[in-house]
């Protein structure tokens, strides 16, 4: 069944905090739920279905539903990392189309920065370790799952997120001649947008030189090729189209959806494409439009290379031509051919709970409503796309593509 026109996004809210020292994870989920309800003009008791991913603690849907006092008849805790909220929008549309619910709440929230600061404080209070050196806080907040068979063949080698994505960048450079300067343009564009966002963590406009001269984190990625770490979150409310039309907000209709995981394929590793090469065409087919019709794109920007891969895999340019596509301000609103991440994205604004999916949808909704900052608002924005990459591009990840129309 096509989901085109079966549901609309009626509420969207991004938490303003980037450092939730004094806010619990559940408080953050509640804050964004309240914000999205107020944005939609709905009340708590209008919600009859709830969607969350692995950032919600405990039993997920039940734990959050209890905190918020929700009475539900449909829940979905699809977990695929940072792209989860994009899949949740599609799954909410499917549940609405199937008659299982009318108003779906989606939340994402977390406090990795605050948790890290707390771990560092605990390590400092514990004093030096056996070797006499200061104790180091555990970087991983949860122990590795012993039932994950792949981890024995990965963890001994130190796969930090940065070096996994760096291998994708290195391979792209090898195959297609992409340069660090071209990747830097993606960060430059994000910073041009972030200067107008008072909540953004990094509001300073940077240059290509700033990016390529920032410290090498993991070759060939520099510090400014990496997204921020931030606390916060966001929420979305998806509703039946009749409900959307009864509210006092522009109607943002779900037109196309696609999802796909990609993994190691038994050792047939090919880092030159992502799962967006599967999720994107499905979404465009459902929407009945082509990439050339998209006026604004929210692209997952855990790293600059992540954006480049999505541009190619979603069909905004041919494989291997992403570097030339992003050069010279190609992604800057008002300058380039495809304005992207006009809130500053994960590279400059916010990557709450180390998961960027919900902010991608929120900024697409702002653009379609004409509520983005005037300096970055796309004129008469009718078609927008939001894409997520959850997991790690170089190993296993899930892509989610969402195409939205203002009607």
């Amino acid at each position: 069944m096509s989901l085109n026109g079966k549901a609309a996004i009626v509420g969207a809210y991004e938490h303003p905090t980037r450092n939730a020292e004094k806010l619990s994870v559940l408080r953050l989920h509640a804050d964004v739920a309240r914000g999205a309800l107020a944005d939609a003009g709905l009340t708590r008791d209008d919600i009859d279905s709830y969607f969350c991913a692995g950032d919600a603690p405990g039993l997920g849907t039940a734990t959050v539903a209890e905190y918020l006092g929700l009475k539900l008849r449909h829940v979905d805790s699809t977990e695929c990392g940072g792209s989860a909220p994009i899949l949740h929008v599609a799954h909410a549309a499917a549940a609405i189309a199937a008659g299982r619910c009318n108003v779906a709440l989606i939340t994402l929230a977390g406090r990795p920065r605050a948790a890290m600061a707390e771990a560092q404080a605990r390590a400092a209070a514990a004093g030096p370790g056996k070797d006499g050196r200061p104790a180091k806080p555990a970087l991983a907040l949860r122990p590795p799952d012993p039932d994950c068979p792949e981890l024995a063949f990965e963890l001994p080698y130190g796969p930090a997120t940065q070096n996994l994505y760096a291998m994708v960048a290195q391979r792209h450079m090898h195959e297609f001649g992409t340069t660090s300067e071209q990747l830097a343009w993606i960060k430059v564009a994000a910073s041009h947008h972030a200067q107008h966002n008072p909540n953004a963590m990094l509001r300073k406009v940077v240059t290509v030189d700033d990016v390529v001269n920032s410290p090498m984190v993991s070759s060939p990625l520099h510090r400014l090729d990496c997204c921020v770490m931030s606390d916060g979150g966001g929420a979305l409310i998806v509703a039946r189209p009749e409900i959307a039309r009864s509210l006092k907000r522009p109607v943002v209709m779900v037109r196309g959806t696609g999802e796909a995981p990609k993994h190691g394929m038994g050792g047939r590793i090919d880092l030159t494409w992502s799962a967006a090469a599967w999720s994107g065409p499905r979404a465009f087919e459902e929407a009945g439009i082509t990439p050339a019709q998209i006026q604004y794109a929210s692209l997952y920007d855990s790293f600059t290379i992540t954006v480049l891969m999505q541009l190619e895999d979603l069909g905004f340019c041919k494989k291997g031509e992403g570097g030339r596509f992003v050069m010279d301000g190609g992604l800057i609103s008002g300058v380039g051919r495809l304005p992207f991440n006009t809130d500053g994205g994960g590279l400059c604004n916010n990557h709450p709970a180390n998961r960027g999916g919900v902010t991608k949808v929120i900024e697409a909704v702002r653009q379609l409503r004409g509520e983005a900052h005037p300096a970055v608002q796309v004129r008469d924005c009718t078609w927008a796309l939001a894409n997520g990459i959850g997991g790690a591009l170089a190993s296993r990840h899930t892509a989610g593509t969402l195409i939205l129309e203002r009607v």
Binding site: L139, A152, L155, Y157, M216, L271
Partner: protein, 130 residues
């Protein structure tokens, strides 16, 4: 201080792989139903879902598919290390580390051979320029 290699989390399904590593042998899984090699190793072939998989001694040689050197390590005093995908001559590509020599000289397409790094548990296969 060199990066300390964490010991692998061993399951019964792959114990033979780690015991062989302790003896300086790299094993790779092959499916006798479809004939394909795979990695990471498992009982059930990911290419055809057959359970007729067997352990085979790998040649221990391969080619660098991609690699990245983390410059600063994870903590104070830890030296850089290089994460890599190495394509074995048998076919599968495996995540590993490149060790020995100058990390700035590691290249895509470079020929490498397996070496084994001890841990608090089983030894772990890594690769060094051939």
């Amino acid at each position: 201080m060199a990066r300390k290699t964490p010991k692998p989390m061993v399951q019964a399904e792959t114990l033979a792989y780690w015991q062989a590593a302790d003896e300086g042998r790299l094993l790779v899984k092959r499916c006798t139903a479809c004939g394909e090699f795979h990695h990471y190793p498992r009982d059930i072939c990911p290419h055809c879902l057959s359970d007729a998989t067997e352990w085979v001694d790998a040649a221990g040689t391969g080619t660098v598919y991609a690699c990245s050197t983390m410059g600063q390590g994870h903590g104070e005093g830890e030296s850089a290390y290089t994460l890599a995908y190495v394509t074995l001559d048998e076919g599968p590509t495996m995540l590993t580390n490149l060790v020995g020599g100058d990390p700035s000289q590691y290249l895509i397409g470079q020929r490498v051979r397996v070496v084994f790094t001890p841990t608090d548990g089983h030894a772990v296969p890594m690769f060094t320029p051939a």
